[in-house]
């Protein structure tokens, strides 16, 4: 495209005088981007002619012989083209705005690029400016709610990655096996926590098989391609600074019962012991002057364990290039504190450089390097559950405890409770530091064997990571029996991870008349290895005034020999792959890839992952040419098979484990030999996608719609072993995800001063287990049981359905199921749940349990609205989801936790007499085995939410006079200021739907600046 423009320009310059002979002007001008930065190489063409030119290094152009009433068409790749009336002007400044909807846009695909118009698959690309709007350590956080079919579940703890799901969950194996593949500048990653959002140019999400199958090996969970920033040919050095600073505030705090409510609950619980503990608290801490029946203590534990926390990010970069060298260099520093009141933060310093050198017309080499140095202090997540259960009738510190150290922590056991409850000793005497260093190195060489036709590319990458973990447990004492930590304990765990990749590709590109063809063939070799070594030492120097300097194993009195660990893994992968893209007259598109992958990880080494795609650009047909409203319309379809090689390796043989036996108080070693083993192959997901891409009304309205089904056909599932606990893993499961995805965007530039955009996306998801190899179900989750059965969503919650609450003894007497239970020795009283006897056998037992819902949302959506007026810009987006459920495990945990506190919602709404509630049990009922013997629908809550996700307001300062002329923009952002949800937890974002100790996801409020010159 660009090249043909150049040819046109040259031919025009040669023959212009011959072609034009009317009232003409000489025009000079400048083309800038919306930041006011000059755009070199932008094309200016006189409409209706072949006359035109390009801007120079400083974005300036001059054009002679332009008709005085003519129109200039100004275009630049990646920006919306603009038509400007000359209107007798001789000096014109044109500002182009970024165009996310351009069909000429080049999209990064696996091992190459394609024009957006030529795609047959479902790819969504997110640009830098949309990424950096979100104040977060992790760039993926910015994608939340912006891409249909992509679910991001935030993680509130600093430095921890969000959960990312592309088109549902296709692997039964949890954890990393469900993660998408990240490809950063061609290198495979399992997570991208080390990347600074400012370093990224684009993120492309490859959703369907046609676009991702070329990454067969790992493509089944979706592929996220990330290009880091690179320089441009013939561009003056362009310096950028961007930074923000802000505060994180926990919002949507769950209110806990206060002392008054708690005392009432304890007295109603039916437990004499619990009531007596309230009296004990009054004896120990005095009586409240307001209400003499409650202790003079009212601790709001959530309030106490949380704090406001700071976040800041500063990035400096320079990009540029001349004819043969392009470069992009950068530095950044990110800091974020956690909102849990303990040593809990994340800090990351990044350096990066990307340099490309054209050694000749045909040969170029490039080097990319990115070094990331981070320190993370991991929180004690147990504090959140502990704070929920801790009784409000106890202070944090109890100064009468003179024997306690390092601080006089209050101990609930002093009041008669079974556990010490206080979360502070754990928080204050625990430190988990993880120092990560991540180095990405890439060297590539490209040689054009036939110029612009046949290209050879070889690329070697090394991703090297080290993690130094230091876990410090300092002793404390505030009571016997669980309220002390005797030994100072230090664990050091050092791990290194190395992944080397060597890719070779050969690309052939040609056009024969209306036939356009691109063929790529390649090989890839990967060598992944991981080693970890750890040891634990006891009783190193510690105490007041002693810190880091003594946290060394050498200084420990003892090294616990049984806690010295060594582990490692090494996997090799080897692949062949090929891609063919063909189109006829830009109208009929055909696309296919195949990848053959082999790995040392599984017993069946080779997997083959083909895909085909087709597209029909209807708008290119002659019968559509007259419909002005439609600028572009394409139908797409694709089918393909994808692999998931992220399920843990299988041993393929019987193994033995060393055990110790005791004989006469002498340790005797022994071996326990397993009687079976896993022998696996790749998981294969088969995906079909149908889609429509359209732009309408002068390209102002764009539409993408897709329907997909993806079926994991060789899903690795645990197969129960007969008789004995445990399972073996086999490739026998079938899981299907299907859904619809829509994205609609309207982008209007009303005038040079005012433009706006409004858009929305919506996606549905249906997750269904299709086959479990004849097993009735797969069960997980212990008491909070989750079950996978054929026909339901993976790991659906499973329990009794609550029909209501017994209001009167007569009601119980009339219920045969309750009478059977009473006959069996259970207690059933008014205030207890009445359950649905789903199998209608007259008794309530395990067989009455039903599907209580899935943790996967049925639908997710996002709405964005933005406008700019003169120097002001505004953007906002709203996200939401629905149809999922969350198990409120804290509330359910009350039954196993003797005499705990509970949330205020329960305290306020509990059953407290006939007619008071038909959905909440009584305080006694909540603990009554009849009411809580199984998980039931009371504890499984709706996870629907709508959230104002991000609001940003920016103001760009007027340009300064003089040669130093930076563009300066200030902005303020509110991230997640408001969430609407009925869930009784900190956040409705709970990745696995099990809310036990979820780190609250804070709102973030920042101010920042971008400076470019």
């Amino acid at each position: 495209m660009k090249i043909s423009n150049v040819i046109l320009t040259i031919s025009f310059l040669l023959f212009q005088s011959l072609l034009f002979a009317q009232s003409t002007l000489s025009i000079s001008g400048t083309v800038n981007d919306s930041d006011g930065m000059p755009l070199p190489g932008a094309s200016i063409v006189v409409k209706g002619s072949t006359a035109g030119t390009q801007t120079d290094f400083d974005g300036n152009f001059t054009l002679d012989n332009v008709p005085s009433n003519g129109t200039l068409v100004v275009s630049y790749i990646g920006y919306a083209s603009q038509e400007v009336l000359v209107a007798n002007r001789t000096r014109i400044t044109i500002t182009l705005s970024n165009d996310t909807q351009s069909l000429d846009e080049i999209v990064v695909v696996g091992y190459g690029t394609q024009k957006k118009a030529d795609l047959t698959g479902a790819i969504t690309t997110i640009k830098a400016e949309d990424i950096v709007r979100t104040p977060s350590a992790n760039p993926l956080q910015a994608l939340q709610g912006k891409v249909p079919g992509l679910q991001i579940v935030s993680n509130g703890a600093p430095g921890e990655a969000p959960t990312v799901r592309v088109r549902g969950v296709g692997s039964y194996t949890g954890g990393a096996a469900q993660n998408p593949l990240y490809v950063v500048d061609g290198i495979f990653y399992d997570d991208i926590n080390f990347l600074n959002p400012e370093d990224i140019e684009t993120i492309s999400l490859l959703k369907d098989a046609s676009s991702s199958a070329i990454y067969g090996v790992r493509a089944a969970n979706g592929v996220i391609l990330i290009q880091t920033k690179s320089g441009k040919v013939n561009q003056k050095p362009r310096f950028t600074y961007s930074g923000y600073q802000g505060v994180e505030v926990a919002n949507n705090l769950v209110k806990l019962s206060n002392s008054e409510q708690f005392a009432t609950l304890a007295r109603e619980s039916g437990s004499a012991a619990e009531a007596s503990f309230i009296d004990n608290a009054m004896q120990r801490y005095g009586r409240s002057r307001v209400n003499p029946n409650i202790p003079n203590v009212n601790t709001d534990w959530y309030d106490e364990i949380l704090r406001h926390a700071l976040i800041q990010n500063h990035s400096l970069g320079v990009t540029g290039g001349n004819e043969s060298v392009t470069y992009s260099l950068g530095l950044s520093q990110f800091e974020q504190e956690g909102i849990l009141r303990m040593k809990n933060d994340f800090e990351r310093f990044n350096i990066r450089a990307k340099i490309n050198v054209d050694l000749s017309d045909r040969l170029s080499v490039g080097v990319t390097t990115l070094f990331s140095n981070s320190t993370r202090f991991r929180p004690e997540n147990g504090a959140f559950a502990a704070a929920y259960f801790a009784v409000p009738t106890m202070p944090i510190l109890d100064l009468s405890k003179t024997d306690a150290f390092p601080r006089p922590y209050a101990n609930a056991m002093d009041l008669g409770y079974r556990g010490p409850q206080n979360p502070f000793p754990l928080m204050e005497n625990t430190e988990n530091r993880i120092r990560g260093r991540n180095n990405l190195l890439n060297f590539n060489l490209q040689y054009q064997i036939l110029p612009d036709k046949l290209t050879f590319l070889t690329s070697y990458s090394h991703n090297f990571e080290t993690n130094e973990t230091r876990e410090v447990r300092l002793p404390y004492f505030f009571g016997i029996g669980g309220a002390f930590r005797e030994n100072a304990e230090l664990t050091k765990r050092n791990s290194t991870f190395s992944e080397q990749t060597w890719d070779n590709t050969l690309t052939y590109k040609n056009s024969y008349g209306k036939h356009n063809l691109e063929v790529l063939g390649g090989t890839s070799f990967r060598d992944r290895s991981f080693e970890v070594l750890e040891a634990t030492g006891l009783n190193f120097p510690n105490g007041p005034g002693i810190g880091d300097e003594s946290y060394f194993l050498d200084l420990s009195n003892t090294i616990d020999i049984d806690r010295v660990g060594d582990g490692g893994a090494r996997e090799y992968y080897f692949s062949y792959f090929s891609r063919v893209a063909y189109n006829f007259d830009n109208k009929y598109l055909l696309y296919g890839t195949i990848r053959a992958d082999a790995t040392s990880k599984y017993q069946e080494k080779w997997g083959y992952f083909p895909t085909v795609g087709a597209g029909w650009v209807i708008s290119e047909e002659s019968f559509m040419k007259n419909i002005d409203a439609i600028n572009f319309l394409k139908l797409r379809a694709s089918w393909g098979q994808l692999g998931n090689g992220n399920v843990a390796a299988s041993s393929g043989g019987i193994t033995s484990t060393t055990v110790d036996g005791a004989f006469g108080d002498v340790r005797v070693p022994g071996l326990v030999t397993a009687n079976d083993f896993d022998a696996l192959k790749w998981e294969v997901t088969e995906e079909t996608n149908f889609g429509v891409t359209a732009t309408m009304f002068k390209n102002q309205l764009s539409l993408e719609a897709d329907y997909f089904t993806r079926k994991t056909i060789d899903g690795i599932i645990p197969i129960s072993r007969f008789l004995v606990p445990g399972t073996t893993r086999q490739n026998l499961g079938v899981i299907r995800n299907s859904g619809l995805e829509f994205a609609l965007n309207w982008n209007k530039r009303v005038s040079e001063d005012f433009g706006y955009n409004i858009g929305g996306n919506f996606s549905t998801l249906k997750n269904e287990i299709l086959d479990l190899a004849g097993q009735q179900n797969l069960i997980t989750g212990g008491d909070v049981q989750q079950r996978s059965i054929v026909g339901s969503a993976i790991n659906s919650f499973y329990g009794l359905q609550v029909a209501g609450v017994y209001q009167t003894p007569e009601e119980i007497a009339a219920d045969p199921a309750a009478q059977v239970a009473i006959g069996n020795g259970l207690t059933v009283q008014p205030g207890d749940f009445r359950f649905v006897d789903s199998n209608e056998d007259g008794i309530i037992d395990a067989t009455d349990r039903v599907d209580l819902g899935s943790y996967l949302p049925n639908y997710t959506f996002g709405i964005n609205l933005g406008f700019n007026y003169k120097a002001w810009d505004f953007s906002s987006n709203v996200i939401g989801q629905g149809g999922n459920v969350i198990a409120n495990m804290k509330r359910f945990g009350v039954r196993q936790t003797p005499d705990p506190n509970i949330d205020r919602d329960f305290a306020v709404n509990r059953w407290s007499g006939a007619g008071s509630s038909n959905s909440y049990p009584s305080a006694r009922g909540l603990r009554n085995p009849w009411s809580n013997q199984f998980l039931n629908s009371f504890f499984v809550e709706k996870g629907d939410f709508v959230r104002l996700q991000n609001v940003t307001v920016g103001y760009t300062l007027p340009k300064l006079k003089g040669s130093f002329n930076p563009t300066i923009r200030f902005y303020a952002t509110a991230e997640r200021p408001i969430t609407f949800s009925q869930f009784n937890g900190f956040t409705p974002e709970v990745a696995d739907g099990r809310d036990q100790q979820t780190y609250p996801i804070p709102g973030v409020y920042t101010v920042g600046a971008n400076i470019n010159f």
């Binding site: 012991a273 079974r418 036939l450 050879f456 016997i480 029996g481 005797e486 090989t523 070799f525 060598d527 006891l538 020999i561 060594d566 490692g568 893994a569 090494r570 090799y572 080897f574 082999a598 790995t599 040392s600 080494k605 299988s650 041993s651 393929g652 043989g653 019987i654 193994t655 033995s656 055990v659 110790d660 036996g661 005791a662 004989f663 006469g664 108080d665 002498v666 340790r667 070693p669 022994g670 071996l671 326990v672 030999t673 397993a674 009687n675 079976d676 072993r721 007969f722 008789l723 004995v724 606990p725 179900n777 069996n824 259970l826 037992d845 395990a846 067989t847 196993q896 003797p898 085995p929």
Partner: protein, 517 residues
């Protein structure tokens, strides 16, 4: 054109060289998974390694989860379930909940370890194939030991559930299409036959006489299990024969100090026919071999050794038992079996007619070793047989009962089983029933009796084995003395003899739903 030709050739050369380099890469695809000890790499010609597999079986059998001994032991009029474990509390009232996790894990883990015993035996067989004559003899002994250990688990499993499956190898596919569940009688007959197979290969000595594996299985362990299985079959002649053989060997004697029998001094005594061995190996830190005794321990106390952990209070001797023992004038055995809280003592005074003045001095919250039980909401009494005085803890250890062995079979049971069998009509000339019972009474500090009756033997067993593995409960079921089990508002019927299979097991083997209870 010529240029292009050369370029193409160059390209071919380039590709060829890459192809060669990449072939080297593909060889790596056969690398095994790291950090694994592949059994396929075991050198079975090293007969001296054969013992590793046997020790693995011992350790698998002794490695019990906290809830399992409770599921086996909680029923009966010697003990109540206490604390907040509803499944155990239901079980204690003979109400069986098919979703109680303990009834699932007991089944699963017992079978898991039975299968491990089979895997161990199969490994030993492979060593035997390459061993010399001495090695074969040793291998036969090891297999026989594993059989006895397997029998120990299968016996308890059948006591709890009645009809259970009988694995015959480690191949789980044997259970793909089961069509019947062996009845409890069939299981017991199988165990008798298994012991008959094992006995000829086992060492003829007390377990504590073994030098290679002190406390390991011997011929007498197998005989004891044979006697127990025969007893469950009400084959009293079989009981008398097997128990008589143990007695006649003259190798066993009762440990003189009943209180210390269950504590550190009683480890591997001459009374022991088999005990799970747990040890801190005399060290205050480092990995120990242990079991979680916490559920048996008092929930609150002031230990003589500061920092020693209390228990969870899930297991509580019954007032009925305490009164029974007080009425008999028992001293040592009551003190050994029961720990008292003040609430418990008050309750005894309130319900039994004993007073502060008439209660023996040891009925006190303070144990003879100085650990003081505090009142707590969960239980009023605790088991003394699972209690290790904190002064006996290895310094540095705080876990409840750490370093304490768990006795399974002891000679006193052999004697009383024997005596009962004679009273049930069997004959044996090893000793008389009176002699057997009086040996037990003498150690307990009681006067001898003559012309002992069946009822007296049953009472003697109640006094002697309370809190030990539900032995009292299983006796009452066998002797059909159901009224004894109907105490404290409980309602026992014959149909409630066995714990309900867990729903998960029924789902896996629908045939279990048809087993008559």
């Amino acid at each position: 054109m010529a240029m292009i030709q050369i370029k193409k050739n160059k390209l071919l050369l380039l590709l060829a060289s890459f192809a060669i380099m990449l072939t080297g890469c593909t060889e790596q695809l056969d690398q095994p998974l790291l950090n694994n000890n592949f059994a396929g790499g075991t050198d079975y010609s090293k007969t001296e390694d054969m013992i590793l597999s046997l020790v693995g079986v011992y350790q698998s059998v002794a490695n019990r989860g906290w809830e399992q001994p409770l599921v086996v032991s909680t029923r009966g009029d010697d003990v109540n379930a206490a604390g907040d474990q509803q499944g155990l509390k239901n079980m204690d009232r003979y109400v069986y909940d098919n979703s109680f996790f303990g009834s699932r894990t007991l089944w699963e883990t017992y079978y898991g370890d039975i299968i491990r015993a089979h895997t161990g035996m199969e490994q030993i067989e492979r060593y035997k194939e390459l061993a010399d004559a001495d090695g074969v003899v040793l291998g036969n002994q090891y297999v026989a030991e594993a059989k006895v250990l397997r029998a120990l688990l299968l016996f308890q499993l059948s006591q709890v559930y009645g009809a259970v499956f009988i694995p015959t190898s480690s191949n789980l596919n044997d259970f793909a299409n089961v069509t019947s569940v062996p009845s409890k009688d069939e299981v017991m007959q199988h165990l008798v036959a298994q012991m008959d197979e094992a006995i000829p290969f086992l060492p003829d000595m007390r377990p504590n006489e073994r030098r290679d594996l002190p406390g390991g299985v011997t011929k007498y362990t197998a005989l004891h299990i044979k006697a127990l299985a025969s007893q469950e079959l009400k084959n009293y002649q079989g009981v008398a024969d097997a128990a008589g053989e143990i007695i006649a060997s003259g190798k066993f004697s009762l440990f003189p100090d009943y209180y210390q029998l269950f504590k550190t001094p009683g480890k591997l005594s001459n009374e022991s026919l088999y005990e799970f061995q747990y040890s801190d190996f005399g060290e205050g830190t480092g990995q120990r071999v242990g079991v979680t005794y916490s559920p048996f321990g008092p929930n609150g106390w002031t230990p003589a050794v500061t920092g020693a952990s209390a228990g969870w209070g899930f297991f509580e001797p019954s007032i009925k038992y305490v009164k029974f023992m007080l009425d008999r004038g028992e001293r040592t055995r009551l003190e050994t079996s029961v720990l008292f809280t003040q609430t418990g003592i008050d309750s005894i005074i309130r319900t039994t007619g004993y007073t502060v003045a008439t209660l023996p001095a040891f009925v006190s919250p303070t144990t003879r070793d100085g650990d003081i039980l505090s009142n707590n909401a969960r239980h009023i009494l605790s088991s003394g047989k699972h209690y290790l005085p904190t002064r006996q803890l290895i310094p540095g250890r705080t876990a409840y009962g750490s370093n304490k062995n768990y006795i399974i079979y002891r000679y006193s049971e052999t004697l009383l089983m024997y005596a009962e069998a004679l009273k049930q009509g069997a004959s044996n000339s090893a000793i008389s029933a009176d002699q057997a019972v009086n040996l037990v009474r003498e150690r307990a500090g009681l006067t001898p009796i003559t012309g002992v009756t069946l009822d007296q033997i049953v009472d003697e067993k109640y006094a002697e084995f309370a809190m030990e593995w539900g032995k009292r409960f299983y006796d009452m079921v066998r002797l059909e003395r159901y009224t004894e089990l109907n105490f404290g508002g409980r309602n026992f019927t014959k149909e409630r003899s066995f714990v309900t299979y867990h729903q998960d097991q029924i789902d896996e083997f629908p045939i279990l739903a048809n087993v008559p209870r």
